[in-house]
Structures are given as structure tokens and as C-alpha cells.
Symmetry: C2
Subunit: 269 residues, 2 copies
């Protein structure tokens, strides 16, 4: 069996990474994917580096056992904290979402004044700040944690006045920073994009890493001659460490009713 | 060494159980306590029964290894889902917070129409509904999940307008239920008591399980002649599976600056 026919492994703390998985499936519809949502231990965004690294390693080991040809960390927090650790435990290409997000931001920004919002863990890691200034050394990066955005999105409060008030509390300081681009540095935040866009106004470009991460994966596979030559739709297998109705609902909203198979996975034993 | 000199073991998913630990320390100041906050895997409230039971067993095993003379599940979700499981693995008394909360509610209610708010897991378990009707068969229990209250309290949004709006969204249906008592069925909710009280109005009694749980523990120890005879303040040892600044801050707010020792504990290996 050619290595090119093997699946792509993707993991996140929960459902946020489905935005990245959906972008990958749009760009590479013939690839098989295996998605792991570590819902039994989410959220990652307010946990320590050591804890997130340990969870990321467990997730990666499971996906590597499924013989994946590439590994995508579809979670900004885990990308910020565990990318190099995971690259050290395998020979398959391991991609995070921070570099793709930084590339999208640098491309979108004219002035080089770029805002980044994310979880406490992502912001504290300085990963976006470093990735952006590596691409554009004169960039000025303003980074802000928005810890309640994940639970608000998870609970379906995307159109509640309270979410707008919380977003105003978080984002108002950015009005004084004269940025022209804002990175949604968490895979959940696109679900609140309408509120964030209204508060930031029409002159600030909002970017996320889903599409750029899919392109980066395409390039990594292409360079290594690992793109499948299959011409029928790839299989999609989803694992969650804690199965919930919401995981199924959100997977269906991204991938349709026949979204693939969903299995419970016990990673803690 | 007499068994009475052994410590009391207390666990929660995180900091919420500190409200119960503080009530125990007020009532039984000479007892040693060992507190475990499973912060690496919080929250429990939106996870499945099997997952919460597995976490509860791991927490209990750790505390039993510390040779505790009693075990207090200072978390409504874990009490609802894992009390009997834990009673099955040890001979020391294991106490949850649901029965004490139900006792407090039945004592406070004249009409027998009682509201209960808690996490999705606690409400879905029907544990409060069953415990209240076991004490008062003609009681009418109205139960409502309020899943965002834990993250709002954890993030310090106790006095934000958004929290009031979210609380109004959650609690307004209770105005049509003609209840006279509302159980704060989650150890985090006392932190939002001022908002909940304003929305519910002065004629609805708010009860939580912290003080009643401390009394139940006193009775369980007294019956078994396990109360310490020591006359100096007990030692307080805190473990967290993920150490954060917030855990230390909240522990200090409950127990003062010299609140005891705090150690990191790795339960996942």
C-alpha cells in the first residue's frame, strides 16, 4: 500500500478544530481524515504548558497508531505549546495552525500593526507574536486573551446580547491600538466572527488559520509526494474522548448528516 | 496512631469545592484536611457519567492513599454521578453534597415548590430531584441547567452586566413556576449569589450545600467516634492537577494568605 493512501490525522481539544478539518476536506476532498476531539479534557486554553503537552502527546500517539501520513494540530493552544514536542516524536510531517495564521495576518496587514486574540495559553506563549515578527520583523503585535469566547460559543450564545457585551469588554482596548488586522487565534472564534467584526468595524481585516492551514498541509503533502491519487471522496472518521450530543450536532453542521463515523475513545486508561 | 487524627479528604473538579472545604474548616477547625482540585480535567459539569466516574475514582484513590478517615465529594456533578461508585471502593465514610443540599432546600421551603440550578450533568442526573422527593414526596422540583455560570465565575465576571443578562436568560423561566426556594446546586454558584438573588427577588430563599455538608460530615465522624481531640488548628494541604495562579488566589481568598501548602499532582500517568 502506498503511503499516499494513508489518512491525515487531525486533533483538537474539542469541536473548534472542525473548522480546520472542514477547510482540509474542502481543499483535499479525496483524502481520508481521522479526527480526534479530546472532549474529556477540554478546554486546553487555560491549562499549563506541561498539561497541554502531555495531552497533545497522547492524542498524537493515538493518531500515529492509526498510521496517518501527516498530523495537523487543529488547536491554537496545543500548536503554541506542543508543536516542537510532537515534531520530535515522529517522522511524519506535523503542522500547527499558528504559522498559517501568522502568514494570513502578515498578508492581510498593510501597516504591520496586527492584533491577536486567543486563549490565555496561546497568548501567554507568545507563539503568534514570535511567528508574526519572524515573517515581518517591523510588525507591531498586540495580543489579548478572550477566555470566555470558547464557553460562549460552546453553549450556543453566538447571538446573545451578553456575548456582545463581553466581546466589547475584551476588544475595546484594541480601538486605541491602531491595528488594521485582527487574528482570530482560536479555532472556536470564527463562530463569533459577526460580533467581533461589528465591534472592530469595517476597516479591520479579520483572519483565521483554517484555510491557510489547509494550504500548508497541501504543500507539505505535495512536496513529499504524499497526496492521494484517489478520485472518490475520502473516508472521515471522528473520535471523541467524551461523546456528547453537541459534538455530533456541530460535526453535522460542518460535514452534513452523513458526516462519517463517530466513536468514543478512552485515552486515560 | 488513632484513626481520629487522620485527615479528611475533599475533592472537586477545581476551586468550587473550596466553598465546602471552607465550611468544613469553620465547623471543624482542628481537623486536618487534604484537598484535591482536578483542575487539569475541569470542568466536570458537561462531561458524561462514565468520564466523571473515572475521574472521581482516580481522585478518590489518591486521597485514600493519603490515609483519610472520610471522603467528601465537594462537587455536585461528581456527587450526582459517582457517590455510590466511591462508596463501593472504600470502607471510610464517603459523603456527597447533593443530600445536604436537598435537606437544606426541604427545610427552607414552605410550599414544597423548589427550584434547582446546576450543571448540565447534575440536572440531567435527576439526583437533586430524587433526593428532594425522597425527603418530601409531595415536593414539586423544577430543575434548570446554567452551564455558563462556572466559566463566568472562574473568569471573575461576577459583577459584569453580561453575567446579569445571562442569568436573566437562564432564570426568567423560574418566575412562572411559583417556587419559594432555589438550590444553588453547584459549588461555584455562591460566587454569583448577589445576581441570582436580585433576579429571583426577596421572597425566594437561596440555599447551598456547603454548611449542611459540613454538618453531615460532623455527624458521620461523631457517630463513628472519628472526631479529632486535637486542640490546635489542623493542617491544610491542597493538591491541584494543574497549578494556576487563580487556584492560589481563590484558595487565599477563602483561607487567608497562609492557607496551607499547595502541590502539583500528576494523576494522568
Amino acid at each position: 500500500m502506498s503511503k499516499a493512501t494513508l489518512p491525515i490525522g487531525i486533533f483538537d481539544s474539542g469541536v473548534g478544530g472542525l473548522t480546520v478539518a472542514a477547510a482540509i476536506c474542502r481543499l483535499l476532498p479525496h483524502e481520508h481524515i481521522v479526527y480526534l476531539g479530546d472532549t474529556a479534557r477540554l478546554p486546553y486554553g487555560n491549562k499549563s504548558v506541561a498539561t497541554v503537552q502531555r495531552y497533545a502527546i497522547k492524542n498524537a500517539h493515538f493518531l500515529l497508531k492509526q498510521k496517518v501520513k501527516a498530523l495537523v494540530i487543529a488547536c491554537n493552544t496545543a500548536s503554541a505549546m506542543a508543536l516542537e514536542v510532537l515534531q520530535g516524536i515522529t517522522d511524519v510531517p506535523v503542522l500547527g495552525v499558528i504559522t498559517p495564521g501568522a502568514q494570513a495576518a502578515v498578508k492581510a496587514s498593510k501597516s504591520g500593526a496586527i492584533g491577536v486574540i486567543g486563549t490565555v495559553g496561546t497568548i501567554r506563549s507568545n507563539a503568534y507574536q514570535n511567528a508574526i515578527t519572524a515573517l515581518r520583523p517591523d510588525a507591531r503585535v498586540v495580543a489579548l486573551p478572550c477566555p470566555l469566547f470558547v464557553p460562549l460559543a460552546e453553549e450556543g450564545f453566538m447571538h446573545h446580547k451578553a456575548t456582545e457585551l463581553i466581546a466589547r469588554t475584551y476588544l475595546t482596548p484594541l480601538h486605541h491600538e491602531d491595528i488594521d488586522t485582527l487574528v482570530l487565534g482560536c479555532t472556536h472564534y470564527p463562530l463569533l466572527q459577526h460580533i467581533i467584526a461589528e465591534i472592530m468595524g469595517p476597516h479591520i481585516a479579520l483572519v483565521d488559520s483554517a484555510n491557510t492551514a489547509a494550504l500548508a498541509l497541501h504543500n507539505a503533502l505535495s512536496t513529499r509526494e504524499l497526496l492521494t491519487t484517489a478520485r472518490k471522496p475520502g473516508a472521515r472518521t471522528f473520535y471523541a474522548t467524551d461523546i456528547s450530543d453537541r459534538f455530533q450536532e456541530i460535526a453535522q453542521s460542518f460535514f452534513g448528516p452523513g458526516f462519517g463515523t463517530l466513536e468514543h475513545l478512552d485515552l486515560t486508561e
